[in-house]
C-alpha cells in the first residue's frame, strides 16, 4: 500500500472536507430515499406485471383447453394470447417497458398489434421519465459526482493551497489520482449499499435459485455501472483541474451533464426519426393487403392463384370436384393462405424493422460520443427492456401464432370430412383432446450471448472512454499549471 500512500492521503483529506459540508448529508439522504423508493416501486411494478401476465396467460390456456369438441378452424379463431413477462433485472431498469404492449391476441389469418401498454393508459406525465434504480445511477449520481467534484482542484487553486501542495513534492499525477479516489470514495458510500440492496432484492425475487445466465447479466450490470460512475469521477476532477475558478468548473460540468443525459439522447433519436420516416399502421396494413391481393386472395372464389391450385389438385387426384378429394379442401386452402399472408406480413415487418433500426442507428453511433447512451443501451439490454427484446417478444408471439394456425389447419385437413354439411346438418367437429396438442406459449428472454452481440457497440464505447480518460489524465498531469 506504500505505493499509493500519497494518493490515499489526498483522497482521505478530500473525503473529510466533503463531509464537512452539511448539504451533502441532505443530498445523500435524499438520494438514498429515492433509491429506496425506486427499488420499492420497481419491485411492486415487476410483481404486479408478472403476476397479471402469468395469471392471464394461465387463464387463457385453461380456457383454450376447456373448449368442447368443435371444428379446428373455430379454435384457430378462438386463438391464444401472448402476455409479456419481465425479467428480474427489469426491477432496476424499466427501459422502454412502459411503451411496450403487454398482450397480443393470436388468431388465424391476422397479425394483431401488441396492446395495452402503460403509456397508452397514461397522460403526458409519463413522458417526463420514470424513477428507477438505473435512472438514479445513470442520471442523478453523475450530477452528484459533479456537485462534489467541481471543487476538487479548482478550489485549491482559488485558495492558493494548490501551490503549497505542489511545492511539497506532490506531483500532478498523484494529486489527480488522489482527488479521483476521494470523489469515488464518497460516491461508493452510496453505490455499495445500493448494490447490496439490489443483489438482495434480486435474489429474493428468484427465491435464491439463480441461473448462470441471470447471474452474468447481474454482474455485468453492476460492473458497468461501476465503470460508468468512475468515468464521471475522472471527468469531474479533470475539468476541475483545468478550470481557473470553481465557478467555471461547476458551470462546465453542469453543461456536460445536461448535454450527455438530457439533450443528446433526445436529439439523436429525434434526428433518426426525422430522417427515416416510418409508415403508420394504416399504410403498413394497406400495403400488406395490396401485396396479398397480388399473390392471391383465398376469399375470392375466382382468384387465379387458388384456381391453379385447385386445378392441379383435381388433376393429381383424378377427380372432377374438390368435394371428392380425400382430404378437407378448405383446410388445405387455408394452409396455403396462411403461408402466403404470413410470408408477406413478415416481409413487410422486416422492412419496417429496418426503418426502425435506421432510426435507432443515430443514437447507437452517438453512444461513442456519449457514455450515457452506451450505458443506458447496455443496461436496457441486460434487463430485457430494450428495443431488441421487444421485437424479439413480438417475433416469438408471431411464430407461435403461425404454428397454432397451421396446426389447426392440419387438423382440419386430416380429420374434417370434405363434404360440406347442408344447412340443417350438425357442424363437423373433432374431439377436444386435440387442443392439448398445441403447446402453451412460452416467452424466452434473450440469452446473455445474444445481448452482448447486440450491445457490443455500447461495451466498446465504454471501454474506449475508459482508455481515453487514462490518456487524458496522463496528458493533464504533464501539462497542468498551478496558477
Amino acid at each position: 500500500m506504500k505505493l499509493l500512500h500519497t494518493e490515499l492521503l489526498i483522497a482521505r483529506h478530500f473525503k473529510n472536507s466533503v463531509f464537512k459540508n452539511p448539504a451533502l448529508y441532505i443530498i445523500t439522504f435524499f438520494i438514498g430515499a429515492l433509491l429506496l423508493f425506486a427499488a420499492f416501486s420497481g419491485w411492486d411494478n415487476y410483481k404486479s406485471q408478472n403476476e397479471t401476465s402469468e395469471k392471464y396467460q394461465h387463464e387463457s390456456r385453461e380456457d383454450w383447453l376447456k373448449n368442447p369438441d368443435k371444428n379446428p378452424h373455430r379454435m384457430a379463431h378462438y386463438g391464444n394470447f401472448a402476455f409479456r413477462k419481465s425479467t428480474s433485472l427489469s426491477v432496476f431498469e424499466f427501459g422502454m417497458e412502459p411503451f411496450f404492449g403487454n398482450a397480443i391476441f393470436l388468431e388465424a389469418h391476422k397479425q394483431n398489434t401488441a396492446n395495452f401498454s402503460e403509456a397508452g393508459f397514461s397522460n403526458s406525465m409519463l413522458r417526463f421519465g420514470e424513477i428507477s434504480i438505473a435512472m438514479v445511477l445513470q442520471v442523478l449520481l453523475p450530477l452528484l459526482i459533479f456537485f462534489i467534484g467541481f471543487n476538487a482542484v479548482a478550489y485549491e487553486r482559488e485558495n492558493g493551497t494548490l501551490k503549497i501542495l505542489l511545492s511539497q513534492g506532490i506531483n500532478w499525477k498523484q494529486l489527480l489520482w488522489g482527488k479521483i479516489l476521494g470523489v469515488a470514495s464518497v460516491v461508493m458510500l452510496l453505490f455499495i449499499p445500493t448494490i447490496i440492496i439490489l443483489v438482495l432484492i434480486w435474489l429474493m425475487l428468484q427465491d435464491f435459485s439463480i441461473s448462470a445466465d441471470e447471474t452474468i447479466k447481474m454482474l455485468l450490470f453492476i460492473l458497468f455501472h461501476f465503470i460508468y460512475l468512475m468515468f464521471f469521477c475522472v471527468v469531474a476532477v479533470l475539468v476541475s483541474a483545468s478550470s481557473k475558478t470553481s465557478k467555471k468548473a461547476l458551470v462546465s460540468l453542469i453543461g456536460i451533464w445536461l448535454i450527455l443525459t438530457i439533450i443528446l439522447p433526445r436529439t439523436t433519436q429525434a434526428i433518426g426519426a426525422y430522417l427515416y420516416e416510418a409508415p403508420s399502421k394504416i399504410q403498413f396494413t394497406s400495403n400488406i393487403e395490396k401485396d396479398i391481393l397480388k399473390q392471391g386472395d383465398s376469399h375470392n372464389p375466382n382468384d387465379l392463384h387458388y384456381k391453379a391450385i385447385k386445378d392441379s389438385l383435381l388433376r393429381v387426384y383424378k377427380v372432377d370436384s374438390v368435394q371428392k378429394l380425400p382430404f378437407n379442401y378448405s383446410g388445405f386452402i387455408m394452409t396455403e393462405g396462411e403461408r402466403i399472408s404470413s410470408n408477406i406480413y413478415n416481409r413487410h415487418l422486416e422492412d419496417l424493422l429496418k426503418v426502425y433500426a435506421q432510426q435507432n442507428s443515430f443514437s447507437k453511433a452517438v453512444s461513442f460520443l456519449n457514455p450515457y447512451i452506451a450505458m443506458k443501451n447496455l443496461s436496457m439490454g441486460l434487463s430485457n427492456t430494450d428495443y431488441d427484446s421487444y421485437i424479439d417478444f413480438q417475433k416469438q408471439a408471431e411464430k407461435y401464432r403461425y404454428i397454432m394456425a397451421q396446426k389447426m389447419n392440419a387438423l382440419q385437413v386430416k380429420y374434417i370430412s370434405n363434404k360440406k354439411p347442408g344447412p340443417n346438418d350438425k357442424p363437423l367437429i373433432i374431439g377436444k383432446e386435440h387442443w392439448a396438442d398445441l403447446e402453451e406459449f412460452h416467452y424466452e428472454p434473450k440469452s446473455i450471448s445474444k445481448i452482448l452481440k447486440t450491445e457490443i457497440v455500447s461495451i466498446v464505447s465504454i471501454l474506449l472512454w475508459v482508455i481515453l480518460l487514462f490518456v487524458l489524465i496522463r496528458i493533464a498531469a504533464k501539462n497542468l499549471k498551478a496558477i
Binding site: 429515492l34 423508493f37 401476465s53 392471464y56 380456457d63 373448449n67 368443435k70 373455430r74 378462438y78 394470447f81 422502454m96 411503451f99 403487454n102 398482450a103 391476441f105 394483431n112 398489434t113 401488441a114 396492446n115 395495452f116 397508452g120 393508459f121 397514461s122 397522460n123 403526458s124 406525465m125 413522458r127 417526463f128 421519465g129 420514470e130 424513477i131 442520471v139 442523478l140 456537485f147 470553481s246 465557478k247 458551470v251 438530457i262 439533450i263 433526445r266 433519436q269 429525434a270 433518426g272 426525422y274 420516416e277 416510418a278 403508420s280 399502421k281 394504416i282 399504410q283 391481393l293 376469399h299 426503418v355 432510426q359 435507432n360 443514437s363 428495443y387 421487444y390 340443417n424 357442424p427
Partner: protein, 449 residues
C-alpha cells in the same frame, strides 16, 4: 440605464450562444411538428382512399351476402388533429389517431395500438413544449443565477451600489432585460410556428401563448427568489439546477409512479379474455338463448326470428354482440380507472408548475389522455351507430348492391371540450406572485451589500 444593461447582457458571448441555441432548437421543434402534422394528414387521406377501395372490393366479392360482407369491411373514425397539436404532440404519438372497426365485437378492436418504434417513444419528441418546458428554464437559470453574486465575487458590486440610487430597482432592471429577451424569443418562435404550421390565431393559440409566458415568468420568479437569498454563485447554480431537476424529472416521475401503482389496470387484460370467451362460448350453446339475450338488448329486432338453419347471421351477430355485452362491466371499470388516473394527475399537477404547464398545453392541443378517452367513447358511439344501421339490413339479407356504400366515408371526431381559463392560468399565477413576494421580502429585509 436600461439600454446599457441590455447591451451589457447581450454582449456576453454566453448569452449570444444561449439565445442562438434556443432559437435553432426552437425552429427544429417546428420542423418536427410539421413532419408530425404531415404524417397525420397523410394518414387521414390514406384512410379515406383505403376505406373506399376496401369497401368497393369486398362489396364486389360478397355481393350476395351482406352479413358476410360486413364481417370483413372496416370503417374509420379519425380523431381530428388541430394544427396547434404540432406544438405539443403529447400522447398523440403513442395513441392512434385513427380507429378502424368492423361491426363485430368492439372490445376486441377498440384498444388496437399504433405501430411505433419504442425507442422514439422513450426518448420523446422534440416538440415546442419540450423546448419550452426543459430548455427555456435552463437558459433562464444560466442567465440569472449569478445576478449580484457575480458582481460581489468580482468586487464590482460596491461600485454599483454606491452609484445607483436604489439597488433593488437595479436588480429588477437586470431581470427585466432578461425577461424581455426571452419573451421576445418565445414570441418569435410562436409567430414563426403560426405562419409555418398554419395555426389559426384563435383563443386557444393565445391561451397557449399566455401559458408559455407565465411559465417563463415562473422560472424567472424562482431565480428571483434564489437571488434574493444573496448566496454565492456556486450555491445559486447548484440549488437552481436541483430545483430544475426536481420539477422536470424527479417529481413528475415520482407522481407518475404513484398514480400508475395506485390505479392499476388489470381490467384491460381481464376485458380481452372475457370478451373472447363470451363470444366464443356461444358457438357451443343453445342458439335461441343467445338470440333471446340479443332481443333483450335490442327489443326493436324481435321481429326477426331465428332461422331454422345451423348457421344464420342473426345468430352470428348476436354472439358477437354478447362478447361486448358480457364484458361491459370490465370495460366500464377500465374506463373509470383511466378517468380516475387522469383526474388524479391533473389535480396533483395543480401544485407542480412544470407538470401543470405540460398537461395544460396538451389539453389545449388535444393530445392528452382526456382527449384519448373521449375518442374511445366516440369510437363506441360510432360503432353503435354502424351496428344499428346494418343490423336490420343483415337480418333481412338486403341486397348488397342497393346499399349506398359511397356514403360511408371516413368520419371525424372533433373534441370540443373547453378548458377553463382560470384553471389553466391561476396555479402558475399564484406561484409567481408567491415567489416574487417572498423574494421581495428577502431583499427588503437584508441590505444588499
Amino acid at each position: 440605464m436600461l439600454v446599457l444593461l441590455f447591451k451589457n447582457f447581450i454582449r456576453s458571448k454566453g448569452t449570444k450562444i444561449g439565445l442562438l441555441f434556443l432559437l435553432i432548437i426552437g425552429f427544429i421543434s417546428l420542423l418536427i411538428g410539421h413532419q408530425f402534422q404531415e404524417k397525420q394528414q397523410n394518414n387521414i387521406t390514406e384512410a379515406a382512399v383505403y376505406q373506399k377501395e376496401h369497401i368497393a372490393r369486398n362489396a364486389a366479392f360478397h355481393k350476395d351476402e351482406i352479413g358476410l360482407l360486413l364481417y370483413y369491411i372496416k370503417f374509420s373514425l379519425v380523431n381530428n388533429t388541430l394544427p396547434i397539436n404540432s406544438l405539443a404532440i403529447g400522447q398523440r404519438d403513442v395513441n392512434p389517431s385513427i380507429q378502424n372497426v368492423t361491426i363485430r365485437g368492439l372490445e376486441g378492436q377498440k384498444y388496437d395500438s399504433e405501430l411505433n418504434n419504442p425507442s422514439n417513444l422513450l426518448s420523446g419528441n422534440i416538440d415546442f413544449s419540450f423546448v419550452l418546458l426543459y430548455l427555456f428554464p435552463l437558459l433562464i437559470i444560466a442567465f440569472s443565477y449569478n445576478i449580484i453574486s457575480e458582481e460581489k465575487e468580482s468586487g464590482t458590486w460596491k461600485i454599483v451600489a454606491v452609484q445607483s440610487p436604489n439597488t433593488f430597482f437595479y436588480i429588477l432592471k437586470l431581470f427585466y432585460v432578461r425577461i424581455l429577451s426571452l419573451t421576445a424569443l418565445l414570441t418569435l418562435i410562436l409567430l414563426a410556428a403560426a405562419v409555418f404550421l398554419q395555426i389559426p390565431l384563435d383563443q386557444s393559440f393565445f391561451v397557449f401563448y399566455g401559458l408559455s409566458i407565465l411559465y417563463i415568468l415562473f422560472w424567472f420568479a424562482v431565480c428571483f427568489f434564489i437571488v434574493s437569498l444573496q448566496k454565492n454563485s456556486n450555491f445559486n447554480a447548484v440549488i437552481l439546477l436541483t430545483i430544475w431537476l426536481f420539477l422536470i424529472i424527479i417529481l413528475p416521475a415520482a407522481i407518475n409512479t404513484y398514480i400508475i401503482n395506485k390505479y392499476k389496470v388489470p381490467e384491460a387484460l381481464e376485458l380481452t379474455l372475457t370478451q373472447r370467451n363470451a363470444y366464443h362460448e356461444k358457438w357451443d350453446m343453445d342458439k335461441q338463448e343467445t338470440v333471446d339475450k340479443f332481443y333483450k338488448h335490442y327489443p326493436q329486432f324481435k321481429k326477426y326470428a331465428l332461422p331454422d338453419t345451423e348457421f344464420s347471421w342473426l345468430w352470428y351477430y348476436a354472439m358477437q354482440q354478447m362478447g361486448d355485452d358480457e364484458s361491459a362491466i370490465q370495460s366500464k371499470e377500465l374506463e373509470s380507472k383511466l378517468e380516475q388516473r387522469n383526474n388524479a394527475s391533473e389535480l396533483i399537477a395543480l401544485f407542480i408548475p412544470t407538470l401543470h404547464t405540460q398537461i395544460q398545453l396538451n389539453e389545449i392541443a388535444k393530445s392528452d389522455l382526456r382527449n384519448q378517452l373521449l375518442f374511445l367513447k366516440e369510437t363506441t358511439k360510432f360503432h353503435e351507430k354502424l351496428r344499428l344501421h346494418f343490423y336490420p339490413k343483415i337480418f333481412e339479407n338486403a341486397p348488397v348492391n342497393q346499399q349506398k356504400w359511397e356514403d360511408f366515408k371516413v368520419e371525424t371526431f372533433k373534441d370540443n371540450s373547453e378548458t377553463s381559463f382560470m384553471k389553466t392560468i391561476l396555479p402558475l399565477l399564484l406561484f409567481n406572485l408567491l415567489l416574487i413576494g417572498f423574494g421581495w421580502r428577502n431583499f427588503k429585509r437584508k441590505v444588499i451589500i
